[in-house]
C-alpha cells in the first residue's frame, strides 16, 4: 500500500544502503520485463521469443540500471543530509525546551562545571605563565646559572668568588661565555627627595649572553666593567617611565647617582627582567676584589650566568666546570676545599621555587574537576532515570536508541557549552583573583595573564568533561529496559546497577575531598606553627628604613658621627622608644664569616662559618632581643688599633663553646686569619635571622663603628603605628645631609608577613579548593539521598503503614548513605597518606601524616555527609503512607 510522500518525516523509513538501492532497481526492472514477457506469451509467443522481444522493446537495460542506481544513491545522500539537519534542529529545540523546564538542574550543573573549570584554568594560567613559558631571552634553553656547591655548609647553591669565576670563564670548554650577577642599589637625586633604586650588577657580557637588546641606546661595552670606566648604567623601562618621565633624551645624559656622576647608556624593553623587579643594571667591577688576596677566593658575592655552546648540555658544563673546581681545591685548599660547582638551567634558577607548590595546586585543581565531573555525572544520571518514562514514550513512537542518545548528547553539548562559557568566565575571574591575592608570591619573571589559550583550555575542559560525564550516564540511563519502564508505570526506576554506580561516584567524591582537605589542613597547621614560631624578637611596631652614605665623602669617623647624631635626633622624636640599626635585621638573613677561636688550631681548609651582622648599640633593645650575658656595645667602642668587641648569640655559644661561658674569649672573624682580634663581651638570645622556617644559626654581632660601616638598616621601635615616625626620620636625615636617601621603608611586621606570603598563597588556594570540593561532595551526597528517597517513596510508605517509626526510616535512609561516605573517607585517608608526601617540602613542623589533621578531616566529612543525608531523609519520615501508595 502506498504511503504519503512525507512518510519519512513522520515515521522515519529506514535509510537504504547502496546494496539495497541496487537490489531495488534490479527488482523494479525485472518486474517490468517479466510482466511484458508474460503479456507477450499470453498473445501467443513462445517463452524464449517473448523474453527476447521484451528485452528488445525495453532498450538499453544495463545503462538504465546504472543510471537509476546513480540517481537513487545521490538522492539518498541528499535525503540523509536533510534528515540529519532536520533532526539536529529538532534536537536543539527539544534540548533547549527540556533544559528550560528544569532551571534548578541547569544552575547546579553550570555552577559545578564553572567551579571545576574555573579552578583549573586559573591554575593552568599561572603554570603556563610561570613554568611553561620560556624565559624572554634568546634561545633560553641554552642558558644556565652557575653556583658554588659549598659542601662544608651543605649549600649547593651558594655564591661564587671572583677569582674562581675568572678561572671558570678562562678555562671552560662548554660555554660560549660566562658572566656574573650581583645585587646593587643606588639613590638618585632628582629635583625632590632622593629616590632609592634597586638593581643588579652585570659583568659587561651578561646582556650579550642573554641575547637581549635595549629599547633605546645601548648596553655595556666589553670594557665597561673595568675600574674607571664603570660609571654607566642601563635603566629598566619602568624606571625610565616613572623616574625619568619616559624622556628619551636621558639616554647619554650624566646624572648624579649616590653622589657620583653616572651616564645613562640605554633603556631596556618593558618586560625585560632578570628574575626580579630590578630598576637598573650597572657594571660589575671585580678587579679590586681580585686584587685582594683575602677576598679573591674567599668573598662569595656573585652568581654565574652562561650560555651553553651548541650541543653542550648542562650536565656536561657542570662536569667541565667541576674539573676546574677540583683543580682549585688542590691549588687553594685553604679557601676552596669542598667548594665545587652546581649548574642548573636558568629557568629553574629563576622560577624553580614555585614549581612544587604550583604542581601541587594543579593536582588539587584536577581533583576539584574530577569531583565536579562526578557530581555532574550523578546529576545527569539521576535526571535521565527520572526521565525514563519520557524516553520510553519516545522510543515507543519509533525513536531508536541511537536517536535517543543523540537527543541526550545534544542536551549534554548545550550544557557543556554553557558550562564552558561559565567556566572560562570563572577561570578569568579566578586568575585575576589569584594575582590580586598574591602578586609577590609568584616569580616576577613569569608572565601570568588570561589569554585566548587559557580561555580555550577552559572551553576544551568544559566541553570534554561535559560531554564525557553528561553522555555516559545518559547512555546508561537510556539503556535501561524501556518497554518495561512503560509497563511499570514509572514506579521504581533505579536498577541495582545504576544504584551502585551512583554510590561509587559519591564515594569517589568523598575520597578526593578527603585528600584535598588533608592537604589543606596540613598547610594550615604548618602556617599556624610558623606564625607561632619563637622568633626571638618582637616584630610589632618596628619601622625599617635603609640609610646609605656609600659614595659620599664620609670617612669612618664621619659616618659614625652621622649615624649617632641621627639616632639621637630620632630618639627625641615623639612616639619613638628605641633606635637601632644594623647591616641586616632578623628574617632578612646575614652575612657569613669564618670563625677562628684563639688557642684552637687553624684547620687545613675553610674555617667554620658563622653569621655576621654589624649593629648599633641599641640594636638589641630596639628589636627586643634579650641580652643573656655580658653587655651590649658601648659608645666608646670605635674603630681603632686595639681589639674589638663582639657579641654572640646562644646558638654560637652552644655550637662553638659547648654552652660554656664565652665572655672574654678572643676570636678572629673573616676569611683572613691575620684579621683583628675580637673579645666576646656579651651573649644574646637566638632570632630567626634567615626566615620563619630556618632554624637559628650561630651569629656574631660586631659594632658598625668598629667596622666603619656607612650603610645601615634602621630599626625604630615606636609606641604606635611605626609608619607615623617616617616623616621625623626623613626630616632628620635631610637636616643632616640633603643628598642622603631614605630607602626601603617598611615595617618589621610586613617583612614577617612577606616571608610567609608564598606559603600563605599555597595554603589559601588549597583551602579554597578543599572547601569547594567539600561543598560539591555534600551536594553529591544530598542529591543521591534525595533521589533515593523519591524513588523509594512507595516502599517507605508501605513500611510506615506497617508500623515503621520515623527513627526506623531515618536509619534506613541515612545508614546506607553513611556506609557510602565511610567507604569514601577510608579510601580518601589512604590516598592522603600516600599523596601528602608530595607537599612534605611545603610543611613546617607538621608531619605529612599528622594524626590531628587526618582525624579532623575524617570527622568533618563524616559529619557533613551525615547532615547532607539527614535533610532528605527527614523528608522520608514525613511520607504519608496513603498518599505514597495511591500515587501509582
Amino acid at each position: 500500500m502506498p504511503t504519503p510522500n512525507d512518510s519519512r518525516r513522520v515515521f522515519r523509513l529506514p535509510w537504504r544502503s547502496a546494496n539495497r538501492i541496487g537490489a531495488d532497481v534490479d527488482d523494479e526492472l525485472r518486474f517490468h520485463l517479466d510482466m511484458r514477457t508474460a503479456e507477450l506469451i499470453a498473445s501467443g509467443m513462445s517463452p524464449a521469443d517473448a523474453r527476447r522481444e521484451a528485452t528488445r522493446e525495453f532498450g538499453d537495460v544495463e545503462f538504465t540500471r546504472r543510471y537509476c542506481r546513480t540517481l537513487d544513491e545521490r538522492g539518498e545522500r541528499a535525503t540523509r543530509r536533510g534528515d540529519w539537519l532536520a533532526d539536529a534542529a529538532h534536537d536543539l529545540a527539544q534540548a533547549v525546551r527540556v533544559l528550560r523546564r528544569s532551571p534548578g538542574f541547569l544552575l547546579i550543573a553550570l555552577v559545578t562545571i564553572a567551579l571545576g573549570v574555573g579552578a583549573n584554568s586559573a591554575i593552568f594560567g599561572v603554570i603556563r605563565g610561570v613554568l611553561l613559558r620560556p624565559l624572554p631571552f634568546a634561545e633560553p634553553d641554552r642558558l644556565i646559572a652557575v653556583y658554588e656547591d659549598n659542601r662544608p655548609d651543605h649549600s649547593p647553591r651558594s655564591q661564587l668568588a671572583a677569582a674562581d669565576y675568572v678561572d671558570y670563564r678562562r678555562d671552560q670548554a662548554t660555554l660560549t661565555d660566562l658572566g656574573v650577577v650581583s645585587y646593587a642599589s643606588l639613590s638618585y637625586q632628582g629635583k625632590g627627595d632622593p629616590v632609592a633604586l634597586s638593581g643588579l650588577r652585570f659583568s659587561s657580557n651578561v646582556f650579550a649572553i642573554l641575547g637581549v637588546r635595549p629599547l633605546l641606546g645601548r648596553t655595556f661595552l666589553p670594557n665597561e666593567d673595568e675600574p674607571g670606566r664603570d660609571n654607566v648604567l642601563v635603566l629598566s623601562y619602568g624606571t625610565w617611565q616613572t623616574v625619568f618621565g619616559g624622556d628619551s633624551s636621558v639616554v647619554g645624559r650624566t646624572v648624579q647617582m649616590s653622589g657620583a656622576p653616572m651616564q645613562i647608556l640605554g633603556v631596556m624593553p618593558p618586560r625585560f627582567t632578570f628574575g626580579g623587579q630590578e630598576q637598573f643594571w650597572m657594571p660589575f667591577v671585580i678587579q679590586q676584589q681580585l686584587a685582594d688576596v683575602n677576598r679573591a677566593r674567599k668573598f662569595h658575592n656573585m652568581v654565574g650566568v652562561a650560555r651553553l655552546r651548541p650541543g653542550a648540555s648542562a650536565e656536561r658544563a657542570e662536569s667541565d666546570l667541576a674539573t676546574i673546581a677540583h683543580r682549585n681545591e688542590v691549588a687553594h685548599p685553604e679557601s676552596n676545599r669542598g667548594h665545587l660547582v652546581t649548574v642548573v638551567p636558568l629557568h629553574e634558577a629563576l622560577v624553580g621555587d614555585a614549581r612544587v607548590p604550583l604542581l601541587v595546586l594543579a593536582g588539587a585543581a584536577a581533583c576539584v574537576l574530577l569531583i565536579a565531573c562526578a557530581n555532574l555525572a550523578n546529576l545527569v544520571f539521576t535526571r535521565t532515570l527520572g526521565r525514563q518514562r519520557e524516553l520510553a514514550v519516545r522510543a515507543a513512537l519509533g525513536a531508536g536508541r541511537g536517536r535517543l542518545v543523540r537527543q541526550l548528547l545534544t542536551e549534554s553539548l548545550i550544557l557543556a557549552l554553557l558550562g564552558g562559557m561559565a567556566g572560562s568566565a570563572a577561570g578569568w575571574a579566578g586568575t585575576k583573583a589569584l594575582l590580586a591575592v598574591a602578586p609577590d608570591a609568584l616569580p616576577p619573571v613569569g608572565d601570568v595573564r588570561v589569554d585566548s589559550f587559557v580561555i580555550l583550555f577552559a572551553l576544551a575542559l568544559s566541553i570534554g568533561g561535559g560531554l564525557l560525564f553528561g553522555l555516559i550516564p545518559a547512555w546508561m540511563g537510556a539503556a535501561a529496559d524501556l518497554e518495561q519502564t512503560l509497563r511499570e508505570t514509572g514506579r521504581s526506576l533505579a536498577g541495582r546497577r545504576s544504584d551502585r554506580m551512583r554510590n561509587l561516584l559519591v564515594a569517589a567524591q568523598t575520597a578526593l575531598t578527603v585528600i584535598l582537605l588533608t592537604g589543606a589542613g596540613l598547610l594550615v597547621r604548618s602556617l599556624d606553627r610558623l606564625q607561632r614560631v619563637e622568633l626571638g624578637f618582637d616584630p610589632q611596631n618596628v619601622l625599617l628604613a635603609e640609610v646609605g652614605l656609600s659614595g659620599k665623602a664620609y670617612d669612618d669617623v664621619g659616618a659614625a658621627r652621622f649615624f649617632e647624631t641621627l639616632f639621637e635626633r630620632l630618639r627625641a622624636a615623639p612616639g619613638v622608644r628605641a633606635v637601632g640599626a644594623g647591616t641586616s635585621v632578623p628574617l632578612r638573613g646575614s652575612w657569613s664569616a669564618g670563625l677562628h677561636i684563639e688557642g684552637e688550631p687553624v684547620p687545613n681548609g675553610p674555617l667554620p662559618t658563622i653569621g655576621y651582622t654589624e649593629v648599633s648599640d641599641d640594636y638589641f633593645r630596639a628589636l627586643s632581643i634579650p641580652l643573656r650575658r655580658g653587655r651590649s656595645f658601648e659608645p666608646h667602642e670605635v674603630r681603632g688599633p686595639g681589639s674589638r668587641s663582639v657579641i654572640l648569640n646562644e646558638e654560637a655559644v652552644h655550637r662553638f663553646w659547648a654552652d660554656r661561658d664565652p665572655l672574654g674569649a678572643r676570636i678572629q672573624l673573616g676569611p683572613n686569619p691575620k684579621s683583628a682580634w675580637y673579645i666576646v663581651v656579651g651573649v644574646v638570645g637566638n632570632v630567626r635571622q634567615d626566615g620563619f622556617d630556618a632554624q637559628p644559626r650561630p651569629i656574631a654581632y660586631t659594632s658598625y663603628r668598629q667596622e666603619g660601616e656607612d650603610h645601615l638598616l634602621l630599626a625604630v621601635r615606636t609606641t604606635g603605628d611605626p609608619l607615623r615616625t617616617l616623616p621625623a626620620l626623613r626630616s632628620a636625615v635631610r637636616e643632616l645631609d640633603r643628598g642622603v636617601a631614605v630607602i626601603g621603608v617598611t615595617t618589621m611586621d610586613s617583612v614577617a608577613g612577606d616571608s610567609l606570603s608564598r606559603r600563605r598563597f599555597a595554603m589559601l588556594l588549597l583551602t579554597i579548593f578543599a572547601v569547594v570540593s567539600l561543598v560539591l561532595a555534600i551536594v553529591g551526597t544530598y542529591g543521591v539521598t534525595a533521589y533515593t528517597v523519591r524513588a523509594r517513596t512507595p516502599e517507605l510508605g508501605v513500611r510506615i503503614a506497617l508500623g515503621a517509626t520515623a527513627r526506623d526510616v531515618l536509619s534506613l535512609v541515612v545508614g546506607r548513605s553513611a556506609l557510602v561516605s565511610a567507604l569514601g573517607i577510608a579510601v580518601g585517608l589512604f590516598g592522603a597518606l600516600v599523596s601528602t608526601r608530595a607537599i612534605r617540602g611545603m610543611l613546617y613542623g607538621t608531619s605529612p601524616t599528622d594524626a590531628v589533621t587526618f582525624v579532623a578531616v575524617a570527622v568533618i566529612l563524616l559529619v557533613s555527609s551525615l547532615v547532607a543525608a539527614l535533610v532528605p531523609a527527614r523528608r522520608a519520615t514525613l511520607v504519608d503512607p496513603v498518599e505514597a501508595l495511591r500515587s501509582d
Binding site: 502506498p2 527488482d27 540517481l71 545521490r74 538522492g75
Partner: protein, 106 residues
C-alpha cells in the same frame, strides 16, 4: 507507432499518475492503451524518467504488491508533481495548438 518527442515522456508519466498511483509497467500499458497504441514509451526511457522525477520529488515511490502478487515499486504524484503537471499541460497544449495552426491548410 510514433517516436516520442524529447520532453514529452515526463509530462505523459505525470499525467498517467494523476489518475492513480501505479508501477512502471502499468504506466507504460496505460499510455499505450490511452493512445490506442500510437504512443509507446521505451522501457529504458520510462524508468530513467521515473527515477529522475523521483529525485525531483515530483513523484514519490513506495513498495507495494502488484495484481499478480509480486513486490512492485509504485509511484505516486506529489503535490509538487501535480503543480508541475498543470504547468506542463498548459505549455504543451499551447505549443501543440500553435503547431496545429501553422500546419493547418489555409
Amino acid at each position: 507507432m510514433l517516436d516520442l518527442i524529447q520532453g514529452t515522456v515526463d509530462v505523459l508519466i505525470l499525467r498517467t499518475l494523476a489518475w492513480q498511483p501505479m508501477h512502471g509497467y502499468a504506466i507504460s500499458r496505460w499510455i499505450r492503451e490511452r493512445s490506442d497504441g500510437l504512443l509507446a514509451i521505451e522501457g529504458a526511457a520510462l524508468y530513467q524518467a521515473l527515477h529522475r522525477l523521483e529525485r525531483k520529488r515530483w513523484v514519490a515511490p513506495s513498495w507495494g504488491v502488484s495484481d499478480n502478487n509480486r513486490r512492485a515499486k509504485f509511484y505516486q504524484l506529489t503535490a509538487e508533481g501535480r503543480r508541475q503537471l498543470r504547468a506542463e499541460t498548459t505549455t504543451w497544449q499551447t505549443y501543440s495548438a500553435a503547431v496545429t495552426r501553422v500546419l493547418a491548410p489555409t
